[in-house]
């Protein structure tokens, strides 16, 4: 059976393709060093279109509109610019109602795209641009520690990593959030109170790494102005020991948080990247593998969710307490317990 892989690696090579879904201007060049928040491509998003009836506006026949036009298709116009006219005895004119672009002119009508905002895509991780994707974005590569999460609030930032969780099941408390943490990326464990998210915003912090949070905080987390990443899930799930150790040992280093949503189809997922020099010993990453004895796995469902263990042996078909039957594996937990679990409930940790 195929196994999905989650990366929790002390040193690896990380390559991410960062592209816009629409034609965009690429802002970086090959070989350029970028930070996580640097935009790699941007595009103008036109907020709305306006269909202007020039003939009616000027009071002239459709066929005669062309002779009164003061713009062409593709022209950028500012609010108040004259688009057509003057025409007739009253010298009627047609002005642009906003900043924008003349998209099309036909049969006495003019289609104007009103300028909206500029949308951009950030690098998402600090590194080097290794490839440009024409009219879309770029590929960014770096080496460092990588911790993939399961949920993110869609924001990106970077800062110095500060660990505030002594234990992997510690609940984030007000006493842990003091002014010395301003501008840092906090590595905590569980969060059960929306106040903590608001206090972190007030400091402000540059990011928050949690093992889990109460499901009711989801909306607050989505609205937080800084990136939030969950490593385990919702509820009261402690941080797995590998991630906890990695976050602790890298305290004081710069970390980048890309809290983009986990999209199973595209493969994008929230992640923490801690850039480290390539001094050899880089582990190649695999996105998928087959289950084998000896592999480290994480359990995804209760009552053992977020526990790590190693596969002792695989079982072609087994029956579980729920009564369901499926392929399974005997897993040795770090607590010393041996469990028979459905393979579907395990993911490889690499």
């Amino acid at each position: 059976m195929l196994a999905m892989v989650t990366h929790i690696l002390p040193l690896t090579s990380i390559t991410r393709r960062r592209v816009m879904p629409i034609p965009a201007k690429v802002l970086v060049r090959k070989g350029q060093k970028v930070s996580a928040t640097d935009p790699v491509a941007e595009a103008m998003i036109y907020s709305r279109h306006l269909l202007l009836d020039v003939a009616k506006g000027l009071g002239v026949a459709k066929a005669k509109v062309e002779q009164y036009l003061q713009c062409q298709e593709g022209d950028l116009v500012a609010k108040g610019d004259i688009l057509a006219g003057p025409a007739g005895f009253t010298r009627r004119i047609l002005r642009s109602p906003g900043d924008g672009k003349v998209v099309m002119i036909w049969e006495g009508q003019l289609l104007l795209a009103i300028k909206g905002k500029t949308a951009s895509i950030q690098a998402g991780l600090p590194g080097e641009v290794t490839e440009l994707v024409e009219e879309r974005g770029a590929v960014v590569q770096t080496t460092g520690a990588l911790i993939q999460g399961v949920w993110g609030n869609g924001r990106i930032d970077f800062g110095m990593l500060v660990n505030v969780a002594d234990q992997p099941d510690q609940i984030l408390s007000p006493a842990q959030l003091d002014v010395s943490l301003r501008g840092s990326i906090l590595a905590a464990a569980m969060c059960q109170n929306a106040e903590m998210l608001h206090s972190a915003a007030e400091l402000p912090v540059r990011g928050l790494i949690l093992s889990s949070m109460d499901g009711s905080l989801r909306k607050d987390a989505e609205q937080a102005p800084y990136p939030i990443i969950l490593i385990e899930g919702f509820g009261k799930l402690p941080m797995n020991p590998l991630a906890h150790k990695l976050l602790k040992t890298n305290e004081g280093r710069e970390a980048a948080l890309n809290a983009e949503a986990w999209h199973r189809f595209s493969g994008s997922r929230p992640e923490v990247v801690i850039p480290l020099p390539d001094e050899g010993g880089i582990e190649p990453t695999r996105e998928v593998d087959r289950f084998r004895p000896g592999q480290t796995v994480r359990i995804m469902r209760t009552p053992y969710a977020s526990h790590l263990g190693s596969i002792i042996r695989l079982v072609e078909e087994a029956s579980f307490p729920s009564g369901l039957r499926s392929a399974g594996a005997y897993v040795h937990l770090e607590s010393g317990e041996n469990l028979l679990l459905p393979l579907a409930n395990l993911e490889l940790i690499q």
């Binding site: 999905m4 009711s216 919702f234 995804m300 209760t302 729920s322 039957r325």
Partner: protein, 585 residues
């Protein structure tokens, strides 16, 4: 391409779902077509594979190890046709529902006419309807254009204009479509399916020529009173596969192996239901419900007329957004014996959404999954009844018509060993009325049989009549208003041996009349208190011959919709009793 039975004996069908890929093998066993076996694997349409091939190959590998039949040759190609040593298959077909739902914009004239028909057409395949544009939507041309642009559709369905009816208004709507498409990058332009006034086809072709790929289908609303969604379904099904082929690597190879015989899973499922309705004697329809990983499909057919509706928001693994609504969380909690706060259920659903492939490990988790399945089934049925036209196949004033049988298919059926709980869940969710038979497609082969029907209809007929399906029982469900505890139905069952049992069933109860699997008996039914069991009128009874299923004959006198004691403790007791009566605990 039809092939005769002499040429095509064995058939391999791939059903590529959003979560699971299945390889099902059918062959002749002692002069009859039979289901031989099925191999399953995880679908690999998304990351990190981005190619269906890996999942297809693994499902075939599994099938090879189950059946002992070699299906892939040394060159890694499917062995087609079969060889003298029994390797390979004579034909290949495929169904597809993998990938994200199709992004669709609907354009029509009247919201209550052509737009409704366009929606019914769109919902015959997995789709997300992102915008609805019509004459009275209070948007100008530029507003419509922005609506289309912001939706970034893959498909725009344009309906409207009855035959010999409106043309100018339709052209005005199409103008907005054309303009919007013109503003999109060429490689992101949608396909436009026109299923409106046929007199406009040529004009539309010249209007949209060079701008978009225009497909034409028969008018789905030829008059205000009539709807012909079915006639445009094959074109939409073809488009669905074409659009998925462009988006998901591996579909093209599948299509090549299948020589074009690749259908959306919902279309294939609907085809079998329609097929069954044609073979049905009497005036009852056939109901099929397929609860897939990515969508739930409801199909209702009567005498060859099919109503089909796919709800992507109600897939067993895609329910997260729909179900975290507080009202629906309460509905899930309603079915649970243990106390769960809405917060706990919310977290369960959030985590379930993060790991959609995982299985319930504990009995408590399984109970939550059954509760979710009940809510999915109920909402799929309600949506179906709400959105289907009042005339035609679905009559009885917006209620589910009397059907025979009800076939339920889905991922949950394959790994389930708790048949009483599952049967109870299906009854609670579907709430069939009158006299019917509940059948479980425990091998999840209904879509495969739909694909097979195009190549070899005899195979479909014979497998449907084989023991590849699990007959759960004959259901007698009186409907109408009666007080709890009052007499609902008098039943006399006469076995083939001549032995008789008589029961008076009370309102609010669920009872099982023992009848061994496959054995037949004569039932004499007399509904009381003017309850209706579908024998012509409220209070009217009669005789009927029935065949026993896994649970014999189930008399479900719990009312429609189901009614419960108001007090939580009593409700839990009574639900426990119902399950107990089915042999569960």
């Amino acid at each position: 391409m039809a092939t005769s039975i002499v040429e095509t004996e064995s058939l391999l069908v791939m059903d590529v779902g959003s979560v699971t890929t299945r390889a099902a093998m059918f062959d002749v066993v002692e002069t009859q077509y039979r289901f031989i076996g099925c191999g399953e694997a995880r679908t690999t349409a998304g990351a990190p594979f981005h190619h269906l091939g890996e999942g297809v190959r693994m499902a075939i590998d599994r099938l090879q190890s189950i059946t002992g039949r070699r299906l892939v040759g040394a060159n890694e190609e499917l062995i087609l046709p079969s060889t003298a040593d029994g390797a390979g298959a004579d034909a290949f077909a495929a169904t597809l529902s993998a990938g994200e739902p199709l992004r669709v914009v609907l354009v029509g004239l009247l919201e209550s006419a052509s737009l409704e028909s366009a929606q019914r057409l769109a919902e015959t395949v997995p789709c997300s309807i992102l915008q609805k544009i019509h004459l009275t939507d209070h948007r100008g041309q530029d507003g419509r254009l922005d609506a289309i642009l912001s939706a970034r559709p893959e498909l725009i369905i344009v309906a409207g204009g009855t035959e010999k009816g409106a043309t100018r208004s339709v052209l005005k709507m199409v103008e907005a479509v054309g303009l919007a498409c013109l503003l999109m990058p060429e490689d992101q332009r949608p396909v436009v399916l026109f299923a409106g006034n046929q007199a406009l086809q040529k004009e539309l072709q010249s209007l949209l020529n060079g701008i978009v790929n225009l497909k034409l289908a028969p008018n789905i609303r030829p008059s205000l009173e009539s709807e012909r969604v079915e006639e445009a379904q094959p074109t939409l099904a073809e488009l669905y596969v074409q659009l998925r082929r462009e988006k998901i690597p591996g579909v093209a190879e599948l299509s090549h192996w299948a020589r074009g015989q690749i259908l959306p899973s919902s279309t294939a499922f609907g085809r079998v239901i329609r097929f069954l309705s044609k073979t049905q004697s009497g005036d009852k329809g056939v109901l099929g419900v397929d609860v897939g990983g990515g969508a739930t499909t409801v199909a209702l057919a009567n005498n060859g007329d099919l109503l089909l509706s796919v709800a992507p928001e109600l897939g067993i693994c895609s329910t997260h957004t729909a179900l975290t609504d507080e009202k629906l969380l309460s509905e899930i909690a309603f079915w649970l014996h243990a106390e769960y706060s809405l917060q706990q259920l919310n977290e369960y659903l959030h985590n379930r959404n993060l790991h959609p492939f995982a299985l319930p490990f504990s009995p408590e988790e399984l109970a939550i999954e059954y509760a979710i399945l009940r809510v999915i089934l109920r909402h799929a049925m309600l949506k179906f009844l709400r959105e289907t036209p009042a005339s035609g196949v679905a009559t009885r004033d917006g209620q589910l018509p009397y059907v025979e049988p009800v076939i339920v298919s889905g991922r949950f059926a394959t790994s389930n060993s708790n048949l009483p709980r599952l049967t109870m869940t299906l009854l609670d969710g579907l709430q069939p009325e009158g006299l019917t038979t509940l059948i479980l497609d425990n091998n999840v082969i209904m879509p495969s049989l739909g694909a097979a029907a195009a190549i070899n209809p005899l195979l479909t007929v014979q497998v449907l009549n084989s023991n590849a399906f699990q007959h759960l029982g004959t259901i007698i469900a009186p409907s109408g208003k009666a007080r709890w505890g009052s007499p609902a139905l008098r039943v006399k069952m006469t076995y083939e041996s001549g032995r008789e049992i008589k029961r008076e069933i009370k309102m609010g109860s669920l009872e099982v009349l023992p009848l061994p699997r496959g054995a037949s008996a004569k039932l004499q039914l007399q509904p009381l208190n003017r309850l209706d069991i579908g024998m012509g009128a409220p209070g009217r009874g009669g005789s009927v011959r029935v065949v026993g299923g896994a649970f014999g004959v189930i008399v479900d006198a719990r009312g429609r919709p189901l009614s419960f004691p108001k007090d939580v403790k009593s409700r839990r007791e009574v639900v426990k009793q119902w399950l107990w009566n089915l042999g569960g605990e």
